[in-house]
C-alpha cells in the first residue's frame, strides 16, 4: 500500500506531495529522499531505497522523479508499472510531462491523484473512467502552432494527407478545450523501434536486437472503433510463413488487452476501441535476424605510435539505408585513452563537427543520406605514462581505453523489422465535422549501436 506519493524536479524541489495514509513521517521525506539519492554509493541502486522502515521506490521520467513510499514489502513490478502509468496519465491530462507543465497544473494533478489512489490503494488508472471526475482544465503554456519549427523533422513526421504533423501536435492535453471540437479529431499512430547492435572488431555481427512498439495517441471520442492494418507478410515466430519471400518476421508479440484480434490471423488487422489518451497497442521483439542490412557500417583504422604518443584514427562510415532514406542526428562516440590532449581533424563534409568531450571523441553528422559514405581522420597526442619504456612493446596494438565506438541516430520513416502500418481506418463519423486527421509515423532509433575496434 502506498503511503506517500511525490514528484520532485531534477534539482530536488518538491512539485507535488500527497500523503495517503498518514502513517509515516511528514513532508520532509521528499527532502530525505533527495539526500539519500544524491549521497548513494556508486554501486548501489537508487531504484529502491530504505530509510527507517520506509521504502522509497521511484522512476525518472522526463527529468522528474516520481516517488512513492511504502512500509510494506510490496510487488516492485506492480509499483513501477503504476508509476509509469501515472506518468502517462499526467502526460495525457497536462499535455506533456515536465517541470513546467506540472507546476502550471498543480490543481489538476492533485485532483487526478485523488481519484487514482484512495488510502494508498489504486482505484483506477483508466483515462476514460477518470474523465468523469476531473473538473480542472489543463493550462497549456503556448497555443499549438503548425509553425513550431523547432520540433518539426525531429520526429520525422509522415502524413497521409500531404500535410506536416509537427510532433508537438501530439503533446497537448487530451481533455483541453472542451468547447473547441474541431481540434479534437486527431489520432496519432507511431511505430517506434529501438535497435541495439554489437559488432565485433573483425566486422562480424555479434548481436542484433529490435524492440518495437506501436503507440497510439487518440483525441477522438472514446469508443470510436478503428482498424489498423499491418504489413500482410507479418509473421510471428520462427516457423510461420506468409506471402512470398522472407516476410516480416518478429520473435514475440504482445497486444494491449483492448485489441481485438479477430482479423489478425487472416488479414493482419488489429481492431480496437481506444480510450482517449496514449496507449501502447502492440509490442514486439526481434533478435538476430534482420530482413534488411544494418543501417551503418564503420570501418576504422588505427595507427598508434607508442614512442611519440601519436594516435591516428581514420573512420569510414557507410550508411546502408535505401537511397531515398536518411539518418538524422547521427553521433559517433569513441572513448579515447586517458589524457589525450590535442585533436586535429579532416572531415569529409563541412556540416560535420568533431570535438573532444569527457575523454572521448564526439563526431556529429546531422544528416546522412542512404548509400553515402563519410569519413573522418583524427590525430591525437597521448602523453606517455612515466616509467614506461618507449620501445620494445608492440606498436600495432591499440592503446588502452580506445573504443568501442558507439553510434546514436534516428531513422525517420524507417523500421528495421520492415513492419509498416498499411492503413488506419476509423469507423467513427463525427457529426458535422470534417474527417478526423490521422497521422501515421514510423521511426527507428538507436538504443545501443556498438562497434568494437
Amino acid at each position: 500500500m502506498i503511503s506517500q506519493f511525490f514528484i520532485l524536479s531534477s534539482k530536488g524541489d518538491p512539485l507535488i506531495y500527497k500523503d495517503f495514509r498518514g502513517d509515516s513521517g511528514g513532508r520532509d521525506v521528499a527532502e530525505l529522499f533527495y539526500r539519500k539519492l544524491t549521497g548513494l554509493p556508486g554501486d548501489e541502486s537508487p531504484v529502491v531505497m530504505h530509510h527507517e522502515g520506509r521504502h522509497f521506490i521511484h522512476i525518472r521520467h522526463s527529468g522528474l522523479y516520481l516517488v512513492v513510499t511504502t512500509s510494506e514489502n510490496v510487488s516492485p513490478f506492480g509499483l513501477l508499472e503504476l508509476l509509469s502509468r501515472l506518468a502517462t496519465l499526467l502526460g495525457d491530462y497536462c499535455g506533456s510531462l515536465g517541470e513546467g507543465t506540472i507546476s502550471r497544473n498543480v490543481a489538476l494533478v492533485y485532483e487526478l491523484l485523488d481519484e487514482v489512489l484512495d488510502y494508498g490503494y489504486v482505484q483506477t488508472t483508466s483515462t476514460e473512467m477518470l474523465r468523469n471526475f476531473i473538473q480542472t482544465e489543463a493550462v497549456v503554456s503556448k497555443p499549438f502552432s503548425l509553425f513550431d519549427l523547432s520540433s518539426v523533422g525531429l520526429f520525422g513526421a509522415e502524413t497521409q494527407q500531404s500535410k506536416v504533423a509537427p510532433s508537438s501536435a501530439a503533446s497537448r492535453p487530451v481533455l483541453s478545450s472542451r468547447s473547441d471540437q474541431s481540434q479534437k479529431n486527431e489520432v496519432f499512430l507511431d511505430v517506434v523501434e529501438r535497435l541495439s547492435v554489437l559488432i565485433a572488431s573483425n566486422g562480424s555481427l555479434l548481436k542484433v536486437d529490435v524492440q518495437g512498439e506501436i503507440r497510439l495517441k487518440s483525441f477522438l471520442p472514446s469508443g470510436s472503433e478503428m482498424r489498423i492494418g499491418l504489413t500482410e507478410e507479418f509473421c510471428v515466430g520462427k516457423s510461420e510463413l506468409r506471402g512470398y519471400g522472407p516476410g516480416i518476421r518478429v520473435d514475440e508479440v504482445s497486444f494491449h488487452s483492448f485489441v481485438n484480434l479477430d482479423e489478425f490471423e487472416s488479414h493482419r488487422i488489429l481492431r480496437l476501441q481506444p480510450p482517449q489518451g496514449e496507449l501502447t497497442v502492440m509490442r514486439y521483439q526481434l533478435s538476430d535476424d534482420l530482413p534488411s542490412p544494418l543501417p551503418f557500417r564503420l570501418f576504422p583504422s588505427v595507427q598508434w605510435d607508442r614512442g611519440s604518443g601519436r594516435l591516428q584514427v581514420y573512420l569510414k562510415l557507410r550508411c546502408d539505408l535505401p537511397l531515398k532514406s536518411q539518418a538524422l542526428n547521427v553521433r559517433l562516440h569513441l572513448p579515447l585513452p586517458r589524457g589525450v590532449i590535442s585533436l586535429s581533424q579532416e572531415l569529409s563534409s563541412p556540416e560535420q563537427k568533431a570535438e573532444l568531450a569527457e575523454g572521448a571523441l564526439r563526431w556529429d553528422l546531422p544528416r546522412v543520406q542512404g548509400g553515402s559514405q563519410l569519413s573522418g581522420l583524427f590525430q591525437m597526442d597521448v602523453p606517455r605514462p612515466p616509467g614506461l619504456p618507449s620501445h620494445g612493446l608492440s606498436t600495432s596494438a591499440p592503446p588502452l581505453g580506445l573504443g568501442p565506438a558507439s553510434l546514436s541516430f534516428e531513422l525517420p520513416r524507417h523500421t528495421c523489422s520492415g513492419l509498416q502500418v498499411r492503413f488506419l481506418r476509423l469507423a467513427f463519423r463525427p457529426c458535422g465535422n470534417a474527417n478526423p486527421h490521422k497521422w501515421v509515423r514510423h521511426l527507428s532509433h538507436s538504443d545501443a549501436y556498438v562497434i568494437r575496434i
Partner: protein
C-alpha cells in the same frame, strides 16, 4: 415475425413497456416481456430497454420477475451503470417474506457479472490468493488452470503476481514450477530490455534469483545481458553478475570477450567489477581467464593491476593448477600498485609462491626499503609474514633484509599489532628454524574449499515467497538488515538464547571439559577423540549427504576463529577447513564421530551483516537422538564463546 430492424423493434417494445395500460394488465405486460426475451434469445440487441425492464422487476408476479432477472443477468455486463439500479430491487427482494423470491433474488445477484477487474484489481486478488491453501491436488490444478491466462497478461505486475502464486501453490511439484519459470522467461527478458531503467533493474534482480536455482535458465539469451555504454552503473553491475552466473561451455568465449571489453571502461569501478567477474568465472574456466587477466596487466594501469593481483591471490588459493601461470605474470606488477589491498595481495603471493618467482626477494626488498613511509599497518603485517616465508625457501637472499625489517618493526614501529607480530616472529626464530617451518608452512591452496564454497543450487521453494517482492531488489543480505532493524522493536529476539551459560564465566579448558562430560550423560553421545579425516574424504561425503539439521544462532560483533577452533577441539570436533580470518562471510567445515561410528559433518557459516551463525549438519546414518545431542554440544560451545566475548 414482422420484418423490422432491431432498432424499430426496440422502439416498439420500449413504447409498449412504458404504456400504463399495458402495465396495468398483468397478462399483456408479461407478454411484452416475453417478446423481449424471445428477441434476446434470437440474438437481437435488446439492451436498449434495460431501464424499462428494471422497472418491470418490481412486481409480485413471480414469473415476470424470473423473466426480468434472466434479462438483467444477460445484459448487466453491457450496462454496468444501469445494473446498479437493479441492485436496489434485488436487495428489497432479499427480505421478501416469500422464500422463493428471496432465493431468486440472491441467485440473480450472484450471477450479475459486471465489468471485469482491471490490472490493479487482478494483481491485488492474485496477492490475496497466496493465503489460500488448496485442500486437494485436484483443486490445486483446477486453480492453476484458471490462473493460466494471467501469465499471458500484458501487465508485468499481473504476470509476476501470477508467477509467484504458481510457485507457491505448486511447491510440491517442481516440474510445474520449472514450467512456470520457463513461461515467465519471455516477459522477464522483455522487462530486462525495457526502456524504463527501473523496471529493467528489478527484472535483472529477479533473473539472478531464478539463476540461483536454475543455472542454465537464461544461458542461451546471454546476449540480452550485454551492457550498453549509456546504461547507469547499477544496471551494468547487475548485468555483469548475471553474465557470471549464466556462463557455460557454449557461451563462455563470447561472455569473456564481452567482459574483457568492460575491463578498460572509463569508469574505474565498473572496470574493477568486470575484472572480479572474470576472476569468479576463472574458478571454472581457469586457463582462458588467467590469460585475459595476464593481458590486462600489460596495460599498466593502477586501478586494473591492483584488482587483477587480488583476483590472482584468491584464484591460486582455490585453483592451484594456475599457480605457474600466475607466477609468470607477476613480475613488473609492483610498479603499478599503490593501494593497500593490492599491495597485500601481491606481497602474499610473493611470500607463498616466492620460490617460483625469480625476482621475488628484490621486490620484497623494495617494500622493506620503503617500510617507513608505508601508511597501512595491514601491508606491514603481510610483509612480515611473507618475508619470513620466503626466508624459509630462499634464506641466502632474504636473511639480511629480514633482519632489517624485524629491527624496524620492533624498535621503530608505532603500530602495536605490527610490533607484536614482529616480536612474535623474532621469538619464533629464536626457537629454531624447524619450529618456524612447522608453523608457517601451511598448505598453499585449498581447492576443496572452492568446491564447497560454490553456491549450491538452491531449491525454488527457498525463495518463492520472496518473488515479486522487494527482497530480490535489495538483495538477501541487505534485506536481512532492513527487516532486522524494522522488526526489532516488534518481535524482539526470536532465537532461543543460550542464557543458561551466561553465568558460567570465562572459557577455560578445565571448565569446558566438565561441560563435555555433562553432555554425553544427557544425550548418550560420546565423540571419538583424534578423529582423522582427509579433506578429500570429507568433501566427498559432504556432497553425497543431505542436510539433516539446520539452524541459526545469534552472533554479534567480533569473531576469533582460533578460539572457536580450540574450543571445538576440546569437545572432539575437528576442523577440516576454514576461511581466512576476516573473510566475509566466514565459513568452516567440521567433522566428528561418535563411538558407534556415526559421522557428523558440519558447516558453520558466519554472516557478519546478519549477526548470525548458520549451522548445517549432515549425518551418515539417520539417528535423530544422537543428532540432537550433537547439536546441543555445538550450541553449547558456540554459545559459550559468544557469552565470553561479550
Amino acid at each position: 415475425m414482422p420484418y423490422l430492424g432491431s432498432e424499430d423493434v426496440v422502439k416498439e417494445l420500449k413504447k409498449a413497456l412504458c404504456n400504463p395500460h399495458i402495465q396495468a394488465d398483468r397478462l399483456r405486460y408479461r407478454n411484452v416481456i416475453q417478446r423481449v426475451i424471445r428477441y434476446m434469445t434470437q440474438g437481437l440487441d435488446m439492451s436498449g430497454v434495460f431501464m424499462e425492464m428494471v422497472k418491470a422487476s418490481a412486481t409480485v408476479d413471480i414469473v415476470q420477475k424470473k423473466l426480468v432477472y434472466l434479462y438483467m443477468c444477460t445484459y448487466a455486463p453491457l450496462k454496468p451503470d444501469l445494473a446498479l439500479l437493479a441492485i436496489n430491487t434485488l436487495c428489497k427482494d432479499c427480505s421478501d417474506p416469500n422464500p422463493m423470491v428471496r432465493g431468486l433474488a440472491l441467485r440473480s445477484m450472484c450471477s450479475l457479472r459486471m465489468s471485469k477487474l482491471d490490472q490493479w484489481g487482478q494483481a491485488e486478488v492474485l496477492n490475496f490468493l497466496l493465503r489460500y491453501q488448496p485442500r486437494s491436488e485436484e483443486e490445486l490444478f483446477d486453480i492453476l488452470n484458471l490462473l493460466d491466462s494471467f501469465l499471458k497478461s500484458g501487465s508485468p505486475g499481473v504476470v509476476m503476481g501470477a508467477t509467484k502464486l504458481f510457485l507457491i501453490l505448486a511447491k510440491k511439484f517442481p516440474h510445474v514450477q520449472t514450467d512456470v519459470l520457463v513461461r515467465v522467461k519471455g516477459p522477464l527478458l522483455a522487462a530486462c530490455s525495457s526502456e524504463s531503467r527501473e523496471l529493467c533493474f528489478v527484472a535483472l534482480c529477479h533473473v539472478r534469483q531464478i539463476l540461483h536455482s536454475l543455472p542454465g535458465h537464461f544461458s542461451s539469451h546471454y546476449k540480452k545481458f550485454f551492457c550498453s555504454y549509456s546504461e547507469p552503473h547499477y544496471i551494468k553491475l547487475q548485468k555483469v553478475e548475471v553474465l557470471c552466473e549464466l556462463v557455460n561451455d557454449e557461451n563462455v568465449q563470447q561472455v569473456l570477450e564481452e567482459l574483457r571489453g568492460y575491463c578498460t571502461d572509463v569508469s574505474a569501478d565498473f572496470a574493477q567489477a568486470a575484472i572480479f567477474a572474470i576472476g569468479s568465472i576463472a574458478r571454472t574456466y581457469t586457463d582462458q581467464c588467467v590469460q585475459i587477466l595476464t593481458e590486462l596487466l600489460g596495460l599498466r594501469q593502477e586501478h586494473i593491476t591492483t584488482v587483477v593481483v587480488q583476483t590472482f591471490r584468491d584464484l591460486v588459493w582455490l585453483c592451484p593448477q594456475c599457480t605457474e601461470a600466475v607466477c609468470q605474470a607477476l613480475p613488473g606488477c609492483e610498479e603499478n600498485i599503490q593501494d593497500s589491498e593490492g599491495k597485500q595481495a601481491l606481497i602474499w603471493l610473493l611470500g607463498v609462491h616466492g620460490e617460483r618467482i625469480p625476482n621475488a626477494p628484490y621486490v620484497l626488498e623494495d617494500f622493506v626499503e620503503n617500510v617507513k613511509s608505508e601508511t597501512f599497518p595491514a601491508v606491514k603485517m603481510e610483509l612480515l609474514t611473507a618475508l619470513l616465508r620466503l626466508f624459509l625457501s630462499r634464506p641466502a637472499e632474504c636473511q639480511d633484509m629480514l633482519g632489517r625489517l624485524l629491527y624496524y618493526c620492533i624498535e621503530e614501529e608505532k603500530d602495536m599489532a605490527v610490533r607484536d607480530r614482529g616480536l612474535f616472529y623474532y621469538r619464533l626464530l629464536l626457537v629454531g628454524i624447524d619450529e618456524v617451518k612447522r608453523i608457517l608452512c601451511s598448505p598453499k591452496s585449498d581447492p576443496t574449499l572452492g568446491l564447497l564454497e560454490d553456491p549450491a543450487e538452491r531449491p525454488v521453494n527457498s525463495w518463492a515467497s520472496d518473488f515479486n517482492t522487494l527482497v530480490p531488489v535489495y538483495g538477501k543480505s541487505r534485506w536481512a538488515t532492513i527487516s532486522k532493524c524494522h522488526g526489532a522493536e516488534r518481535c524482539g529476539p526470536e532465537l532461543p538464547k543460550t542464557s543458561s551459560f551466561a553465568a558460567s564465566g570465562p572459557l577455560i579448558p578445565e571448565e569446558n571439559k566438565e561441560r563435555v562430560q555433562e553432555v554425553p550423560d544427557s544425550g548418550a553421545l560420546m565423540l571419538v577423540p583424534n578423529l582423522q579425516l582427509t579433506a578429500d574424504y570429507f568433501e566427498k561425503t559432504w556432497l553425497s549427504l543431505k542436510v539433516a539439521h539446520q539452524q541459526v544462532l545469534p552472533w554479534q560483533g567480533e569473531f576469533h576463529p582460533d578460539t572457536l577452533q580450540m574450543a571445538l577441539q576440546v569437545v572432539n570436533i575437528q576442523t577440516i577447513a576454514m576461511s581466512r580470518a576476516g573473510a566475509r562471510p566466514w565459513k568452516a567445515y567440521l567433522s566428528a564421530q561418535d563411538d558407534t561410528g556415526c559421522l557428523f559433518l558440519t558447516e558453520l557459516l558466519w554472516k557478519p551483516e546478519n549477526s548470525e551463525m548458520q549451522i548445517s549438519v549432515k549425518q551418515n546414518e539417520t539417528r535423530t537422538e544422537t543428532l540432537k545431542s550433537f547439536i546441543s554440544v555445538l550450541e553449547t560451545v558456540i554459545g559459550t564463546i559468544e557469552e565470553i566475548k561479550s
